[in-house]
């Protein structure tokens, strides 16, 4: 009998990166046109303690439930959590010094140079990190300055000073410039953090992991294959997964859900016993909406790199079962209207299972934090999606027109994830879902992700995938 796959553990991390915001895609272009923007951006960034105490960040790492966020008045950046901790039930926040340290210990090609003071602080901030801490070394500030003057690359800043440098590797290869390597190294380092914590928290040994599926949005490779490369084994190597191989799944924002379905299929088919799905942070998206934030007098809130890791293996313990038989997909011929997309992703799998929309206790859609998106006019993305789902439940006569708000409140949740591309795609809820199922307060949840295929200018299509997770006792009744 083939094993039933389950999500056994989830891990998340936020790395504070205020001095990398200037190298986000939008800030770097706008500062290039108008250098006076740089001090305005840096003057609007939040200090570490405010980032730790920011309620959506506390939800992301598991110290607050998504439902708690609904009762905290907006703006959340002013209604911070007193005595908040950077350590959460299934996630953690790391300081910018710690982030630089992680990048340094992940650097196998001497791309990154830190000054001694930053290296010492990084080592101290990563005192509880399990891997390669001895690699966090620094140089004399004069040596750093000479390197920066004589090399092509990017100056890196910390605490108001130039404290590091990342070099360009090849003067004719756009895929190996310092800015691209910074994106990739930041993605690798943050994925390593979430993966390391996943191993520690789940109790599984690194040697037991068979296969890795990275789903981040970085594009690793050189001039001959650009984004055709892979980060999975690079991350697994750092955390000691010597028996694993891996590959990357690329599908824009929906890649994590594609990857979790693939991981579940590998387990169910008996190809691999333990598969880890992982994704690092998106350096390019730091400060993406800084213009709207400055215009509206709010902090520049895209100041953290986010990452995540999930352990998929055979059911039987206290994990939540992954119902591969109820996976949803948005086929090429489905059409791209919101109704067509949700018919394919939500209604079709439920009809196949003989279930209604109200048989799902919680839907996790694109979980973008509305406080980040609303100043730019993008609205509250999760709320828009939940209202679309509720409207479809009305059309299907499962609820009355007057029940829309209740459907949204009961089966949805406020957005709490940073706007980091693949990170918000439904999967930030998995840690909360695991906790709730272990408590017995949640039976069934649907994770729904959408991807913007059109951004690459190769098709006008959108994409989407979904899956259902169930508490084991419920899965035995309905499977």
């Amino acid at each position: 009998m083939s094993p039933t796959p389950a999500i056994l553990s989830a891990s998340y991390a936020l790395a504070h990166a205020p001095d990398l915001v200037r190298y986000g895609s939008k800030p770097v272009r706008e500062i290039g046109r108008d250098p006076s923007l740089l001090p305005r951006i840096t003057g609007s960034l939040r200090p570490w303690d405010e980032v730790v105490a920011y309620p959506p960040n506390q939800v992301f790492i598991g110290n607050l439930a998504p439902e708690d966020l609904a009762s905290i008045p907006r703006p959340w950046y002013e209604n911070r959590i007193d005595s908040a901790s950077p350590s959460g039930a299934f996630g953690r926040m790391v300081s910018q010094a710690g982030l630089y340290g992680l990048m340094k210990l992940c650097d196998d090609f001497d791309l990154l140079t830190l000054d001694g003071e930053l290296a010492a602080q990084a080592g101290a901030d990563l005192v509880d990190f399990d891997h390669r801490r001895g690699r966090i070394t620094g140089v004399d500030p004069a040596e750093l300055r000479t390197l920066a003057e004589e090399s092509d690359g990017l100056d890196l800043h910390h605490d108001g000073r130039m404290a590091g440098f990342i070099r360009t590797v090849h003067d004719q290869d756009e895929a190996l410039t310092a800015s691209v390597l910074l994106e990739n190294l930041a993605g690798k380092a943050t994925a390593v953090l979430a993966f390391s914590d996943l191993l520690r928290n789940s109790g599984i040994g690194a040697r037991e992991i068979d296969y890795l599926l990275n789903c981040g949005e970085e594009a690793v490779g050189d001039r001959y294959q650009r984004g055709g490369g892979s980060l999975s084994k690079a991350v697994g190597e750092v955390v000691g997964c010597v028996n694993a191989t891996g590959s990357d799944i690329k599908a824009f924002c929906s890649a994590p859900v594609h990857a979790l379905i693939a991981a579940g299929a590998m387990v169910a088919a008996g190809v691999h016993k333990y598969v880890v799905v992982l994704g690092g942070g998106s350096q390019a998206k730091l400060g993406m909406k800084f213009g709207a934030h400055l215009r509206n007098g709010v902090p520049v809130m895209e100041d953290c790199l986010a990452s995540m890791a999930f352990l998929v293996g055979p059911a039987g313990g206290d994990g939540m079962e992954l119902r591969l038989d109820l996976a949803g997909k948005h086929p090429i011929g489905a059409g791209s209207s919101p109704k067509a997309v949700y018919e394919a992703l939500v209604v079709e799998p439920l009809v196949r299972a003989g279930l209604g929309m109200t048989d799902i206790d919680k839907y996790a859609v694109e979980m973008h934090n509305p406080e980040i998106t609303e100043p730019g006019g993008s609205g509250d993305v999760p709320r828009m999606n939940y209202r679309t789902l509720a409207a479809m439940a009305v059309l299907r006569r499962e609820i009355g027109r007057g029940d829309i708000d209740r459907f949204v409140a009961e089966r949805g949740m406020p957005g709490f994830a940073p706007t980091q591309g693949h990170i918000p795609a439904g999967v930030p809820y998995l840690g909360h879902a695991l906790q709730a199922m272990r408590r017995g307060s949640l039976d069934r949840a649907m994770i729904v992700a959408k991807g913007s295929l059109f951004l690459g200018r190769m098709t006008q299509l959108v994409d989407g995938v979904s899956f259902i997770v169930e508490r084991p006792a419920v899965a035995r009744r309905t499977g």
Partner: protein, 42 residues
């Protein structure tokens, strides 16, 4: 609004109404859609 015979630029949004959907709507109302695109703001 009467779109019959009008030229239309359709800019859609991934989590709202997409460009192809707007194009279909406008064309069904008799418009000439000269450009259609979907944006993603997240």
């Amino acid at each position: 609004m009467d779109l019959n015979g009008r030229r239309v630029v359709a800019i859609g949004e991934r989590d709202g109404v997409t460009g192809p959907s707007l194009k279909l709507l406008a064309e069904s109302a008799g418009a000439d859609v000269v450009f259609s695109v979907t944006q993603c703001f997240v």
